[in-house]
Symmetry: C2
Subunit: 542 residues, 2 copies
Amino acid sequence: MQSTMMNVQLTTAAILRHGARVHATARVRTLQPDGSVRTGTFAEVGRRSAQLAHALRACGVVGDERVATLMWNNQEHVEAYCAVPSMGAVLHTLNPRLTPEQLVYIANHADDRVVIVDGTLAPLLAAVLPQLAEVHTVVVTGGVDLAPLERDGLTVVGYDDFIGGHLETFEWPELDELSAAAMCYTSGTTGNPKGVAYSHRSTYLHSMAACAADGLSVTGDDAILAIVPMFHANAWGLVYAALMAGADLVMPERFLQAEPLVRLISSERPTIAGAVPTIWSDVLNHLDSNPGHDISSLGLVACGGSAVPLHLMKAFQEKYGVQIVQAWGMTETSPLAAIARPPAAVEGEEHWALRASQGRPVAGVELRLIDDDGNEVPHDGKSVGEIQVRGPWITGSYIGDEDAEKFDDGWLRTGDVGRIDERSFVTLTDRAKDVIKSGGEWISSVELELLLAGHPDVLEATVIGVPDEKWQERPLAVIVVRDGSEVTPSQLRDFLEGKVAKWWLPERWCFVPDVPKTSVGKFDKKLLRARHADGDLAVIDL
Amino acid sequence: MQSTMMNVQLTTAAILRHGARVHATARVRTLQPDGSVRTGTFAEVGRRSAQLAHALRACGVVGDERVATLMWNNQEHVEAYCAVPSMGAVLHTLNPRLTPEQLVYIANHADDRVVIVDGTLAPLLAAVLPQLAEVHTVVVTGGVDLAPLERDGLTVVGYDDFIGGHLETFEWPELDELSAAAMCYTSGTTGNPKGVAYSHRSTYLHSMAACAADGLSVTGDDAILAIVPMFHANAWGLVYAALMAGADLVMPERFLQAEPLVRLISSERPTIAGAVPTIWSDVLNHLDSNPGHDISSLGLVACGGSAVPLHLMKAFQEKYGVQIVQAWGMTETSPLAAIARPPAAVEGEEHWALRASQGRPVAGVELRLIDDDGNEVPHDGKSVGEIQVRGPWITGSYIGDEDAEKFDDGWLRTGDVGRIDERSFVTLTDRAKDVIKSGGEWISSVELELLLAGHPDVLEATVIGVPDEKWQERPLAVIVVRDGSEVTPSQLRDFLEGKVAKWWLPERWCFVPDVPKTSVGKFDKKLLRARHADGDLAVIDL
C-alpha cells in the first residue's frame, strides 16, 4: 500500500530556500584580516548563491560536473556550499593542507572543472594548476593579483566579477535526493586518498540530526562558530544546520590560532562551536596565560576528530563555564555518528566517565561491535571489537573504488576499536591499525595518551606500539613537554601507576619538540613508527 | 553522479530498534483507574512489540493489511504503534468519538482485518462489529468480559493472551520507506471522512522535526505527557519522537479531565505536554479553583488544533511558570507544520504577538499564500490568502479519492485562511468555509473568538457568519458564560470596542449552555449555522 504523502525530495536547495526565506535575517559573520567582521544575511546568501549558480552555468558547468573549492571558512564558501549542489553540480572541497601530489591526485580523480579559491591560497593552486587537466575556470576571492594563475585556455576571474550582474533568483532544479551533493576525500595514511560523495538526502538528514535537541541542538537563537574547516568532512554539518535552524554562522577564515579565536569569541559571542581537541587545548593555554577573556557565551562546544582529554573538558567547564561535548564520527559518517551527552540523572564521576566516552549513537545511526573472528560481541562495557556503523548518512562505498575490505555486509568498518556499554555509550580504545598487542593482550594507546596529556608538564603525548622480543609489542610513549616545564620518564610512569593495569605502563619513553601530524591534525603514528624503525627516535628505556 | 551513501530506509522499525536498544531504560508510564501508574521500559516495549508482531502474523496478518486500534493512550497502544508498521502492516487508528456510522464507514473503507480495542471501548466496538465484514480478529486489552464481542467466525482474545508465549525478537522486514505505515481519517464536517496514509519516511522525518531543538525539542531527559489522543493525527508525532530521543512517555489513558491530569502532572513531573486549547483551558480553571498544585515541571506545552487564546498562554506563564507554545498543523500534515517560537531577541508585546500567531514553518515544510484568483500573495503580514503547504510529511492525496480540489500544483490547500509576515510567522484568521464576508470585506471569526474568550466572564465564544440583507453577511457571537458569571451583549461589545475595526463588532448575540463540538473537539460551526437557519438559536439583536 502506497502512502498518500508527497514525495518531496530532500535537497540542499530546500535547505537554502528555508534559510534564505524563513531565516532571512540570520547572518554569516566572517572575521577579516584587520580584526573586523564582515556580515551578510541569509537573504543575501540566497541571492548571491543564485548569482553564483547562474555564473557557473554561464561558464559551462552542466549536469553533475564537479566544482571544487580551495577555501577557508567564509561567506563565499557558504555560498558555494549552497549554490553548487543546489544547481545539480557536485561540490568538491579541497583540503589546502594536503601535499601538492595529493591535491593533483584528488582533483583529477574527481574530474574537477572549476576551482573557487581563496586569494591567499592562490599560490598553492598555481603550483598544481598545470597538472589539473580538466579545470577550465578558476574563481578567486579577495582582491588579489590574478596574473600568477593565468595560462592559455584557462579563465581566471575574481569572485565578485564572476557573480556580478547575474540574476538574484535561480530556478533550482528538482533533483533526485540520492544524487551526489558534495565530495570529500579521506586522508588515509596508506595508499591514495579515497573519496566519498554525500547525497542530497544524507546531507539533509544529517543536518536534521545536528539540529536535534540531543544532537548539537541548533536553534534560531544560536550563533555557531565553525572552526572546523569547511574542507573537512562537510564542516561537521554546521553550515547546513545553521541554514536549517536560522542560526548565525561565525566564520574565522584562516585565523585558527588561539589569540584571534578568543578575540572572536569575546566579540561575537557564539553559543555553539566546533573544533578538534588541539584547537581547544591551544585556546585553554591562551586563556590561562591571558586572563580576563569572557568566552562564557559558548553553551556547547562540539569536539571530535580525536579523543578529547578529560582534563581539557574539566578545565573548560570549571574555569570558564564552557561545556565541551565530545562527538564521534569520520568523513565517511557525514560525520555526526555519536555524541556524549550523559543523562541528566547521572552525576559525579559517572557523569565524567560518560563525558570522556565518544557518546551514544544519534538516532539514525546504528552501531555494532565485531571481534577478530567476525562475530558480534555484546554491548556490556567490557567486550572489545571493531566499531561498525550503518545509517542513511553513512557511506557504503568509495568513489570509483569498491574496497570491499572497508565494508561488512552493509556495514561500514570504521577502523576504530572500542567497547559499547549497556546504555550504548561508545569508548574508543584505538585505531585498529594502532592497536598495541602485548603478550597476547591489548593495550589502549588512546587511554595512555589521554592520561599522559592530563599531566601538568605534558603538552602532547602519543603512544605507539614498537616490536619487543619477549612481549611481541610494547608501548613507546612520545612526549612533548610544555614550554618551561621539566619532567622525567620515571615521574610520568609514577603518574600513570594505579591508573592503568601494571603491564600497560610503558618502559620506553621519548621526548620530542613536536609530534608529526596528518593533514587533518591527527598524530601521525605511522610516521612515528617509521622513524622509530629507522632509529631516528632517541628512546629512554626505564 | 550517484552518491556513495548507504541507501538505508527510514522506517518505524529503525525508530523502534533505536528506542529499545539505545534508550532501553526510558519508560512508558500509564495512568491506571486507581490513580497509580504502570511502568514499562522501552526495552520491554521492544520485546512486547516483537511478540505482538508474531501474534499478528500467527492470526493471519500478511503484507500491508490493516490493523486497527480503538484505544486510549497507554503502553499497549505504543506497542501497536511500534509493531504494526514495523512488520509491514498498516496501523489504522480509529477515533472512538466518531459516530457508529462513521466508524463503520472508515473501518470498511480501510479494509481493517484486526482490531485491537481497549476493554472500556469494547461496547462501542460491539455495536458496530456486525457491520465490519473483513474483521476476523479482535484483541481486547484489560481484563474485561469478552462474551459481548463474540460471534461466529470471529476470534476474540485478550491482549496478554494474544501476545503471550511469542518470541521477544522479530526480524523486522526491510521495507520501502514510501510504503504506508499508518492511516488516519480526517473528520471533515462535509461528506465522508477522508483517509491519509503516512509513510514510514514521513513518520521518520516528522519525528526528527519534532526532536529538533526549534521543534518540540525532545531529549532523553524529557518526559512527554501525551494528552493528544493517539487516534488523533499520529498523536502529533509524540510517540515516535519519544522513542527517537529516549524521552519517557506519560500516558493519561482515558482520564482527560482536568483533575486527573493535574494530579498526573504533579506526580510524574513531565517536561513536555501536548493537547488542544480546551484541555488547557479546563486545566487552568481547575488550577485556579484548586490552588497548591505544582505543574512547573512542564517546560514546553505544545498546543494546537485550534487557535490558542493569548490570555490562556499569559495566565499559564504568569501564574504557573509554564510556557504554552502554539503549533499548527492538521491530520494531513503529520501534523507538525509550524511552531510559534519567537526569536529570543524579540520582547514585550511583540513577543506576545508572535506567540499568538501559529508560528513559523519548521524546516522541511514550505508555505505559500494564494488569493481567490489563484495568485501568490506576499508574506508582508498584511496580505490574506489561503495557506498552501508542501513537504515530505504533507499528504498529496487521499486514500482512494483524488479530490483534486484539495491540491494545487503539488501543494496541499489547507482550507485555512491567514497572513504570513516577513519573518514567516503565520497568523490564521479563519477556516476558508467559516470566513465571514461583510460588505465585501473579511471579518476574522477567529480573532473575534480569541478576544471574546479573553473576557473574564466568558467560558467559550464562537463567531459564525449569518446572512444579512444589507451587508450580505454579519457575525453572530455565540457565547457560553462561565459558571456563576453574568454578562450582557452590550458589555461584551464594549469589551471588543477599540480592539477591532468598528464594523467588525457583532450586533447579533446568542447565549447557549454549550457550543457543539466535532469529534476532535473543535467548534462545530456548520451545525451552529444550521441551527441558526432553522431558527433554533435565540438571537439578541443590539
